[in-house]
């Protein structure tokens, strides 16, 4: 209230009053809107809490279990016998490394194949280059479907169709990636400068020529950047493919968790986190350089 004092005396009586009243009204309207939004969110939260069977008492009563879980998965490491303890903690490091490499390869092939499918489909799905309306509609629906069905669900089905093993995981990740990248890709294509396309078409180039020589040079850096980002996401996704028998380090992790081999859980988790970490940093470096390639156009 004190901040109004300097305003009031400088204006003749009635005007200051009117201004202040208007200010209060505007403020009250904003507060009202915020409070309504807050009320709606709170109502939804309570409804969801009821539907999701949230029992705060349970959490409070069981929270000690989470901390004790962390305590149990922490390996015993002593200075006196550090290397011995480390060797015991990572007793199965050979197999884990092999499975981790398998996980990375699943993510790599999945991203590559999915990205290739996405590149093939995105021009047809885009609003500016996709010239056949029904094809555009159909491709978009297919991409939506691939994007919405999570890769683990695909993997569950493919494990039955193709047999247990990493191949099912690769195909599952490739399909989901095609859906996710396809959408991002056609949005990039919709934002390109159309003048080069018109140039190619008007000098007699076919649709494919226009895509190859006019659209692709504009979008390649963006495509690569999104594909790299997706690779990082897919490494994380591939790390759980083993949960349903589709290869990678997940199968060791789930058996360690289910059979209560506590130190193994932390050992495998740490390997996954370190790998994702390194890929995250490398990814960011490359994407910065790609952004530098992209910007001078």
């Amino acid at each position: 209230m004190t901040d109004r004092v300097p305003v009031a005396p400088s204006l003749p009586g009635g005007q200051a009053q009117a201004l202040l009243a208007g200010y209060d009204r505007a403020l009250a309207a904003r507060r009202g809107r915020s409070l309504t939004a807050l009320g709606v969110v709170l109502g939804c939260a309570l409804l969801s809490a009821w539907a999701a069977e949230v029992r705060p008492g349970d959490l409070a009563a069981n929270l000690y279990r989470f901390t004790s879980y962390i305590g149990r998965i922490t390996p015993t490491l002593t200075w006196a016998n550090l290397f011995g303890d480390l060797a015991e903690w990572y007793w199965n490091v050979g197999l884990w490394t092999r499975l981790l490499v398998e996980t990375l390869l699943i993510a790599y092939v999945g991203t590559l194949v999915g990205g290739a499918i996405a590149v093939c489909l995105c021009f047809t799905a885009s609003g500016n280059l996709g010239e056949i309306a029904w094809a555009r509609f159909a491709v978009r629906r297919v991409l939506e479907f691939l994007r919405t069905v999570p890769e683990v669900v695909f993997a569950l089905l493919f494990v039955i169709a193709f047999g247990l093993g990493p191949m099912a995981g690769v195909i599952a990740i490739a399909l989901h990636t095609a859906g996710a990248l396809g959408k991002l890709f056609f949005e990039i294509v919709e934002n390109i400068d159309m003048k080069p396309v018109e140039g190619v078409r008007s000098s007699g180039g076919s649709w494919l020529h226009a895509v190859r020589f006019a659209a692709l040079p504009q979008v390649a850096a963006g495509f690569a950047s999104y594909a790299l980002l997706r690779f990082e996401i897919n490494v994380r996704g591939a790390s759980v493919m083993g949960f349903v028998g589709a290869g990678g380090i997940g199968q060791e992790l789930i058996s360690a968790i289910r059979q209560f081999y506590y130190p193994d859980v932390s050992a495998i988790l740490l390997m996954i986190i370190a790998t994702v970490f390194v890929i995250d940093i490398a990814d960011e470096r490359i994407r910065h350089r790609l952004a530098a390639v992209e910007s001078p156009k």
Binding site: Y69, V109, L112, F145, A161, F162, M167, L229, V240, G247
Partner: protein, 290 residues
């Protein structure tokens, strides 16, 4: 279109040698092409190696495709087999898990993200440490979090909620702190120059800029969490995924296609609503990367 135009191209093609000599820059350069070729060869070789390592075999792919074709035939017509209300209830549970998970993740990540923002906490160790904490949490997949929480609070949607909240805490914390770091400095300077304290600088200088962005990101994550909440049921953490995994395992594929259609419908509805709300909050802007 068809008149003189092709002849321009025909002339150009006939005159190629002279054109190439006259405009070398227009025809790309040999070294770059060679480099690209080499890169493509390396990628191809590595992919071949990876496929060999991952036991790819044409025979298995073909027989698998045959089986998939059978499966797709078995999916029609989609039918709930009399369990519609049970499915609908679990779908509600899934949406509830996603909503509450996103909400609690956002509430926890919001204060934490200020610690991870360079311009709010100038101390290198604090914001670097906070960043790394977020990275570690983000590095663990939602499904792994679900498995861990199931062994803490038992089977059920509550474990799923905690799993979504945990993995989103990492993702949202990172996005929020980036939003805070890119906030305009000038309002903060303005508050500081008129005698505002550090807290007031954040409250009146930074918050009004970042709140709409953060709101938009939360909505986007709510939508993407509805998708991920469908899978945490596979490890027993509640939601529609419990039924989905079960029906796939017993090859009850009519139910599977029905469940997938239900999920598609729910995600579409949430997509439309959240896009509306997001547009109202931040205006037309590209969605943040998920």
């Amino acid at each position: 279109m068809k008149g003189p135009v092709p002849s321009v191209r025909a002339d150009a093609v006939a005159d190629m040698a002279r054109l190439m000599a006259a405009y070398p820059a227009g025809f790309g350069n040999r070294r770059r092409a060679a480099g690209l070729l080499l890169l493509a060869a390396a990628v191809g070789l590595f992919t071949g190696f990876a496929m060999w390592r991952l036991d790819f075999s044409l025979a298995r792919i073909l027989s698998g495709l045959g089986r998939l074709a059978d499966f797709s035939l078995m999916m029609f017509p989609p039918s709930a087999g009399g369990r519609f209300w049970i499915y609908l209830q679990s779908l509600g549970e899934t949406v509830a898990i996603a909503f509450l998970g996103t909400l609690s993740a956002a509430l926890l990540a919001f204060p934490f993200s200020f610690l991870a923002a360079k311009n709010v906490i100038p101390n290198v160790f604090v914001h670097f440490g906070a960043r790394r904490v977020l990275d570690v949490i983000r590095g663990v997949d939602t499904l792994i979090w679900a498995l861990l929480w199931v062994s803490v609070v038992g089977l059920g949607p509550f474990a799923g909620l905690l799993a979504i909240a945990c993995s989103d805490f990492g993702a949202l914390g990172k996005l929020f702190s980036e939003a805070i770091e890119t906030a305009d400095r000038r309002p903060v300077d303005g508050v500081a120059s008129s005698g505002g304290s550090r807290m007031q600088q954040v409250r009146f200088g930074v918050l009004p800029q970042v709140l709409p962005v953060i709101g938009g990101q939360c909505l986007y994550y709510f939508e993407s969490n509805t998708r991920s909440a469908t899978i945490i049921g596979i490890v027993g953490a509640g939601g529609i995924g419990v039924h989905l995994a079960e029906q796939i395992r017993v090859l009850n594929l009519q139910d599977v296609s029905f469940l997938v259609l239900m999920i598609l419908a729910a995600v579409t509805v949430i997509d439309v609503v959240s896009t509306r709300l997001r547009t109202a909050l931040v205006g037309r802007r590209a969605a943040p990367l998920g």
